[in-house]
């Protein structure tokens, strides 16, 4: 039924519809499946590529260790804050794995793990959270946009970059990450709309981890799922189990392929769960019960893959130990890197505000320089 067919709309005084307007009738392929897509523990797992899955496994174990180490660093005062992705590692890792070298990742503040999985040095990735500078790496060198703290504001950037790359004839896909809370922001909607109108090669990955700090999804949206939000923009929505790295990899890789082939954007909702608090500064017991957390613990991304791979004889004790050893080595190197006091130069405050220093900033820089010299002499 279209708007024009609604009872009352076709009253006898108007026998013909107004010109040049008709609703799209091809909305059905845009709709997500009713259930999150799963591979692990289903027949679909028969087709898994063992080598790829072993890589996924090693990355997951490393990712979990990275989360644990970063959280430990907050307790030692080495990090100002850390938003954990324990439980969400499959989303983070898969997002990084499906991208080619020339592609771009647009992470939110929670997605340091995705940046590390893409190859960014863990210490550089944590610069923002440590507090020695906002972005500790050259985004162009790594093709990783700065971690975005304002919610969803990096999504239009991803659209613009992907659009620009396509205008230049370059084979570049942008993958932009956002949380469930971020889907309520205006920039989320504007980004999806621009991407669809421009058919930009972008993949939007929503990690629905259950809560926007303390607010549960039911208080965030009345949509059937977040993946349904794509329909309103003419973007296919995919619903996927965010703890199933095989499913995540498949769905993301398919969306990246589609974007690369000129098929336009995809909206993916990964249904997952944030096992820890929003950050180390948050008390999750105030807004959720242990039973829910325990239920999700039984659906842990590492356990899911480990069970599948050991049952199929792809992974054995030696493989598990090797992955853990590799993760320990990463953690040790991260600790070393973070335990070295960062060298900060106060004069950097003025160095990168404008290409050419304004007179005002020159004055203020001189004031600071004089203060620093006086401190040195004291």
């Amino acid at each position: 039924m279209t708007v024009q067919e609604l009872p009352g709309a076709g009253a006898s005084h108007r026998s013909t519809p107004p010109p040049a307007w008709r609703p799209r009738t091809d909305a059905a392929p845009l709709l997500p499946d009713a259930e999150p897509y799963r591979v692990l523990g289903t027949e679909a797992a028969d087709r898994l590529d063992p080598a790829l899955m072993l890589r996924c496994y090693a990355e997951l174990v490393r990712g979990r260790r990275y989360n644990a180490q970063a959280t430990a660093l907050t307790k030692q005062g080495r990090l100002a804050v850390y938003p954990s992705t324990v439980g969400q590692e499959a989303c983070e890792i898969a997002a990084a794995m499906v991208l080619e070298e020339q592609d771009w990742l647009f992470p939110s503040y929670r997605d340091t793990l995705a940046a590390v999985a893409r190859g960014l040095d863990p210490v550089q990735a944590l610069t923002l959270l440590r507090g020695d500078w906002h972005t500790g790496y050259d985004p162009r060198e790594h093709r990783i946009a700065p971690l975005s703290t304002p919610l969803a504001t990096q999504l239009p950037h991803a659209v613009g970059l992907a659009h620009a790359a396509r205008l230049r004839g370059d084979d570049v896909v942008a993958l932009a990450m956002v949380g469930d809370g971020g889907t309520s922001e205006g920039d989320f909607h504007e980004a999806l709309n621009f991407a669809a109108v421009w058919q930009a090669p972008v993949v939007f990955l929503v990690q629905n981890n259950g809560f926007a700090i303390s607010v549960p999804l039911a208080k965030q949206t009345a949509a059937p799922t977040l993946a349904h939000k794509g329909v309103g923009y003419g973007i296919p929505g995919r619903l996927v189990d965010g703890n199933d790295i095989a499913a995540m990899h498949e769905v993301l890789a398919e969306a990246v392929r589609r974007a690369r082939a000129g098929g336009g954007p995809t909206l993916i909702e990964a249904v997952t769960y944030r096992m820890e608090a929003h950050t180390n500064a948050d008390d999750a017991t105030r807004y959720r019960g242990d039973a829910e957390v325990e239920a999700w613990k039984a659906h842990d991304p590492i356990d899911l893959l480990e069970r599948e791979l050991t049952a199929r004889g792809i992974l054995d004790e030696a493989g598990i130990t090797a992955a853990r050893d590799e993760a320990e080595a990463m953690a040790a190197s991260l600790r070393d890197g973070m335990n070295a006091d960062p060298v900060v130069d106060p004069m950097d405050l003025f160095a990168h505000v404008y290409a050419e220093q304004t007179g005002r900033l020159r004055e203020q820089a001189e004031m600071l320089r004089a203060e620093l010299e006086a401190e040195d002499q004291a």
Partner: protein
């Protein structure tokens, strides 16, 4: 002035294939003020793009395009329509160079038609420059003449930093002996200009208030005042030296702008002039600004906008006798 602005974009696009114009209605229609007229036809819709109607989206996608090496020129259509884009402007556009320690500058020009005097209804006449000048990382310029419209827009597009380019709407139709065939040289950003030399006092102004100040200066001659008029042209960076030199010479100053006075650019300028010229001043630095009210309806705007009379009253008050 409108033609000079169009010409500036056209020349920039012809010289540099990375220059892209984008915004609502800028393509087929040529913009509601026709400032982008003909650009889509000449350079194609990929270079002059009609976007969906969403200012945050327009500026947000321009950020991504600039990240990839393009030079977007964004039109915000009307001053008050730019506000949805403020988060992008303040959190990302203004800060990206700083956040990335210089690795990722954003050469975006944001054209904002601003100010009143055209009989526009509400939300079409704001003077929003105070918001922009209060945001570190943004360059803020505004032309008052046809020549500067061309030169400053060329300089803005060429700048490696984001520039908020404020276009005085009521000067769009101003004419001058400016030939688009022989465009003037680019004045460069950050240079104020003495538009009229004088000895009794300095009027410091910019954008739509420049013609008003020049008219006031002529009228003041009858009162025996020989006024100097300084056109700032660039609010950030602020050309303090030109202003200070002028005021030290004349000993008196009035700052004139349409934006409200409280927290407006004039407050900053008056403070700077006072700090730098205290011993040269014969009277306090005065301000003639719009009232501190939401922009009034068209039938009342003439009472709000700083006009010649109000400027002359201020000049009279410069006869400071404690």
């Amino acid at each position: 002035m409108a033609q000079a602005l169009t010409r500036a974009m056209r020349d920039a696009m012809a010289e540099d294939p990375t220059v892209h114009v984008m915004g609502e209605d800028v393509g087929t229609l040529g913009g509601v003020f026709r400032i982008t007229d003909g650009l889509a036809k000449e350079f194609g819709e990929d270079r002059c793009t009609d976007t969906p109607l969403a200012e945050a989206g327009i500026l947000g996608t321009a950020v991504g395009m600039a990240m990839y090496g393009l030079r977007p020129v964004v039109e915000m259509q009307f001053d008050a329509f730019a506000y949805p884009a403020f988060e992008q402007l303040i959190s990302h556009v203004a800060k990206m160079r700083n956040r990335t320690r210089g690795a990722m500058p954003l050469p975006i020009t944001i054209r904002v038609p601003y100010g009143g005097g055209i009989g526009g209804v509400e939300h079409h006449c704001d003077s929003s420059e105070a918001y922009y000048v209060a945001t570190p990382g943004l360059t803020v310029v505004t032309p008052a003449t046809v020549e500067d419209a061309y030169g400053l827009l060329r300089a803005s597009i060429a700048s490696d930093d984001p520039v908020v380019f404020l276009e005085p709407k009521r000067l769009y139709w101003s004419k001058a002996d400016w030939s688009p065939e022989a465009p003037a040289t680019v004045p460069g950003i950050g240079k104020a200009l003495v538009r009229r030399t004088g000895t009794s006092a300095t009027l410091i102004t910019y954008g739509p208030s420049l013609p008003v100040c020049l008219e006031a200066a002529e009228a003041a001659r009858e009162e025996g005042w020989d006024l100097e008029v300084v056109d700032l042209r660039s609010l950030v960076p602020f050309d303090e030296e030109t202003v200070v030199e002028s005021v030290r010479r004349t000993g008196r100053a009035v700052v004139v702008h349409e934006a409200g006075g409280f927290g407006g650019p004039g407050a900053e300028i008056a403070a700077r002039v006072t700090e730098r010229c205290f011993h040269h001043l014969e009277a306090p630095v005065l301000r003639v600004t719009g009232f501190d009210i939401p922009y009034p309806p068209p039938m009342l705007e003439k009472h709000h906008l700083p006009g010649v009379e109000r400027i002359l009253d201020a000049v009279a008050r410069l006869q400071w006798e404690n």
